[in-house]
Symmetry: none
Subunit: 414 residues, 2 copies
């Protein structure tokens, strides 16, 4: 069975927006053993939509539409798919009631245009939207004499993802031939992709049955392993064997072996050790705290900290002596260490982190160029500090610095 | 004239890789007045490629292919386009010579498969590749009785971009009718898309010459306006007139009229007023600070603040009386106000922001459910606080809360 994914929305044909949902859907489909053969983007134009739908139905078994289910005049997916399949739309009174209730709960008057979201293609099952107003639709039907599965999903990822996982995966599973696919993801912080590949390629080339893909982002390399077999045990064994050899090679550089993020792993370790964390951020400006607190339940180990952009806040929130700043400059090893130890004591935490640097684009000097960052971790015993000269733009420098800080905390806790 | 962009390569149908070249090409095409009506991704499969090419030629005036021009068996773009257009391929001896020279210069023996890169569709002009081995092709030809422009470009951005800019733009410019295109983007925080559309549609429908697109994200709605005319002044006038009417309707809800982000606008206003800002974040956990400091130069108006996840940090960093927390709970109007005023005084800032809430997924109670957030702004005179019951998951709740905080600061500064 082959699948086709169609993103709908004129904004996706501008230079400013890009479909990313299809990556998520592809991953879920691949896990079921379904390959995606075509992806497309089409604007809010009814003729184009109808024609694209017909082409998709003529060549693919599963056609997934994303977007165009909202209340505006531009939202034409329901109408176009119904026309392409020659099936009438019917207004569903339950959805209309839900829409009124939804608006009433938020004390907002519902405008009339919203009711079109209750139009359902004849024969389709309604997919409830727990995170937005537009429901999705699941339709099994015939096109040119062949059975097709047609899925209409809302465009916003926060609505699409849970809807697909909770209401489509089980429905799909019984429709596709049974296959067992096991995957593993090894993640490595702060290693260049070329170094990682040079060390890993001789190993994964010996494991032909496992498909290995290397993906590199800012300060992060991921090894994706995938194998299919007649039983789950067999598939799992294939990826596990390779993962073990790769872990031996990369040793403690691998921070995660099951896809967890670095901030999740840091959280696991802190909880496991019964430790708490506080941070004092200058150049990362909140990014480090934001990443740590993006993990649900992080309040169990993260106490908080300070954003010490202004120099006097470095003193008032983290007890950095003004003399130290005057002597070494705010961007220095000494100040990073003082920030880490100061915030640790202030917050009464097990570990304190201090970050200070020059994120750019301005503010660099010949001695202290843009990209120079000091990251320190204090534990009350043996503080550590590293100097990094980071490449890239402001965003990348800030991300790298936060990555370095998280990895230092992880190593302290291993 | 409408254009279609087709990315070729099975790796682009995996969960890990995405075409980004099309955003670049779209921007260049739009500048010439050419709209992109369809985008597609297809794998390294000859039948699929031929069929996709025929569909594209039947509906678009300009068809741009990216990728599949290399030396491997998977590289099928030349063959497929030639077959779809029923034009034979001819091996170009100059390219063959170039290929041999290229390999010789690098002291590498050229493998035989490389010569297929010298196969040119009959009638096509060769586009020299200064950054790789595979040349591109430019073809003007007839398909189903209509004139078409077909462009074959290599996939790697470092090869594609200069080839398109240096060898295709001028060729295209003389083929498309001269047009001038003006654009404007209005951004509105915290208004539901449906409300924005209901208020704006009657206005923009009166301006047929301007193409209006509404884009909605979490807590953010954007109105993209675009008009083309025979002179730039005329085009600009068209979008400016509509923008003015829309601004009148939406009044101070519009935070940006030239595409700036909310955090940029907040920065402009703070600088303009000579004001400074400090924040005390609980549930947003650093996100608000991170957004503010993502703007280069933000150290001119942003002093810093505190991440007060633990309750005793609310006291020690923002002077929230422990009694107040005991009486009203950490998530309360009173504590939000105390955080805002406390951090303002501590940092000696013009404005202080306090955010406290329940981002979830756990921690909610019947009285204080997940999504309940209080956001306060203190200016030493008339503090303000709002209560919001935000929908969605942890990420969305945190983003909304930061959006609300930024918009409140903006309104204080208008």
């Amino acid at each position: 069975m082959i699948a086709e994914i169609i993103a709908i929305g004129s904004e996706l044909l501008t230079p400013f927006r890009q479909d990313t949902n299809s990556l998520f859907l592809t991953e879920r489909l691949n896990e079921l053993g379904v390959q995606v053969a075509f992806k497309g983007v089409v604007g809010d134009n009814r003729d184009h939509l109808v024609s694209v739908t017909r082409i998709a139905l003529s060549r693919s078994d599963i056609v997934i539409f994303m977007g165009g289910l909202g209340p505006t005049e531009d939202d034409l997916t329901r109408e176009a798919v119904a026309e392409a399949m020659r099936l009438p739309l019917k207004r569903n009174p339950d959805i209309v009631a839900d829409l009124y209730a939804r608006f009433a709960a938020r004390r907002i008057k519902m405008t009339e245009n919203n009711v079109k979201q209750a139009d359902v293609i004849t024969g389709a099952a309604v997919l409830k939207n727990n995170n937005g107003s537009a429901p999705g639709q699941w339709l099994e039907g015939e096109y040119e004499g062949k059975q097709k599965i047609v899925i209409l999903l809302p465009g916003p990822p926060v609505e699409l993802k849970p809807m697909f996982v909770e209401q489509c995966l089980d429905r799909l599973r019984v429709k596709v031939p049974q296959q067992f696919i096991a995957t593993r993801v090894l993640k490595i912080a702060l290693m260049p992709e070329s170094e990682c590949d040079a060390r890993c390629a001789p190993i994964y080339k010996e494991h032909n049955a496992v498909q290995t893909t290397i993906l590199a982002g800012a300060g992060d390399v991921q090894l994706h392993l995938k194998a299919s077999a007649d039983t789950m045990e067999e598939a799992q064994q294939l990826v596990d064997d390779l993962a073990e050899e790769l872990e031996d090679e990369l040793d403690d550089r691998v921070y995660s072996t099951k896809g967890e993020s670095l901030e999740q792993i840091v959280g696991y370790y802190l909880q496991m050790r019964g430790a708490t964390l506080a941070v004092a951020e200058s150049c990362t400006g909140g990014l480090l705290s934001e990443r740590i607190t993006s993990v649900p339940g992080s309040s169990r180990y993260f106490l908080g900290g300070a954003i010490v952009y202004a120099n006097d806040l470095k003193t008032s929130f983290s007890d950095v002596p003004p003399m130290l700043i005057a002597e070494h400059g705010a961007v220095s090893k000494e100040v990073a260490l003082a920030l880490a130890e100061g915030i640790r004591k202030r917050c009464n935490a097990t570990l304190g982190v201090g970050v200070t640097g020059i994120a750019g684009p301005t503010g660099g000097t010949p001695e202290k160029p843009v990209g120079l960052v000091y990251i320190a971790v204090a534990d009350g015993k043996k503080p550590e500090v590293v100097e990094r000269k980071l490449p890239g733009d402001r965003d990348r420098i800030r991300f790298y610095a936060s990555q370095q800080a998280l990895d230092m905390v992880r190593r302290k806790m291993i």
